[in-house]
């Protein structure tokens, strides 16, 4: 009975994990779309952050959207999850730091997070909070994939190992 209960919770845990993984994947996909379409406008947004050296601005603004697209696909299709989740977590941490840094020094810039259009409005504390939420989801996914899943496997719980392992 106890074992069944335990199994049930881990099943819910897995359900939450997969739901959040697909959600975060969709977020990354959505974020990549507009930037891939408008490289020049996105480069301007990256430049406006005033964080990267001029020479790196274009390269980063070209590669970043494609990286987001790949991460989105990996997360949604359950492919290369450890790598995708780790990269995603680090990216979201960097975004958050960049946003917070510019909030603190009072730079009034457009976020360039989901849209290259200036209609999205300037970045504000809400933008930082939104990124924090995504970051926490990514951290949860990372903890799950790097610690919880592996703990299950190590216990040699054969049923868990079978369902958990890819």
């Amino acid at each position: 009975m106890k074992a069944m209960e335990k199994k049930k919770t881990s099943k819910t845990g897995r359900g939450v994990f997969h739901a959040l993984r697909i959600f975060l994947g969709a977020v990354f996909l959505y974020a990549s779309y507009d930037k891939i379409l408008h490289p020049e406008v996105f480069a301007q947004a990256v430049y406006n952050y005033q964080i990267l050296p001029d020479a790196a601005v274009n390269l980063v603004s070209l590669v970043l959207p494609w990286l987001e697209l790949l991460l989105g696909l990996c997360l949604i299709f359950n492919f290369w999850l450890p790598g995708a989740i780790l990269t995603g977590t680090v990216l979201l941490a960097i975004f958050m730091a960049a946003l917070a840094f510019n909030q603190i020094r009072g730079l009034d810039i457009y976020c360039g997070c989901f849209s290259t259009s200036t209609e999205e409005g300037p970045a504000d504390l809400w933008t930082v909070a939104r990124d924090l939420a995504f970051f926490l989801i990514a951290v949860y996914l990372a903890v799950f994939v790097f610690f919880i899943r592996t703990a299950g496997v190590r216990k040699k719980d054969s049923t868990a190992a079978e369902t958990i392992a890819e």
């Binding site: 480069a43 070209l62 590669v63 990286l67 290369w80 790598g83």
Partner: protein, 166 residues
């Protein structure tokens, strides 16, 4: 399933660089083939940034701006907010805050002289407001519009005539 399953952290160790490499490869490839690709290393100097659609630089240097101010052959337009304008601005400058450009433009329209040069400015090396405003004024039919980069700071620091109004 493989008999020996490597730890997710080990997997991430090669998946992260693989994702970065793939993203860079796709990004550079797609950018190379698309029509609206951007240079991998961009020119983000002020001269290049503050230019019109044809790529012609709009930048005017402080010396030229000062001379035009002396002989009253230029109308200066402050693109910053009204409160900053009130705290201090280039002597005789008009105020068209970019955030509400339509409203303010109508207010000062009569005082813009299409015979004279129009010099827009804001504050900070990277402030884009003066540039946006300059392009807007161009569109409105004023041909001789220039941008004084980091205008308020360089003007003030050079000890040139300023004004404050309540």
């Amino acid at each position: 399933m493989k008999g020996h399953q490597s730890h997710p952290i080990q997997k991430a160790m090669w998946q992260v660089p693989a994702l970065l490499f793939l993203a860079a490869l796709i990004a550079v490839g797609v950018n190379h083939w698309r029509k609206d690709g951007i240079p991998l290393i961009g020119d983000w100097s002020a001269e290049a940034r503050f230019s019109d659609a044809a790529g012609q630089s709009l930048v005017i240097d402080l010396d030229q701006a000062r001379r035009l101010h002396e002989i009253q052959e230029a109308v200066f337009v402050d693109a910053r907010s009204e409160s900053l304008y009130r705290d201090g601005h280039i002597k005789g400058a008009l105020n068209i805050p970019w955030q509400e450009v339509d409203r303010y433009f109508v207010e000062v329209m009569d005082r813009l002289d299409s015979e004279k040069a129009i010099i827009t400015y804001c504050d900070g090396e990277t402030c884009e407001l003066s540039h946006e405003l300059a392009l807007f004024l161009r569109e409105m039919g004023f041909e001789n519009v220039r941008v004084l980069v980091n205008g308020w700071t360089v003007w003030k620091d050079a000890g040139l005539p300023v004004d404050a109004s309540g």
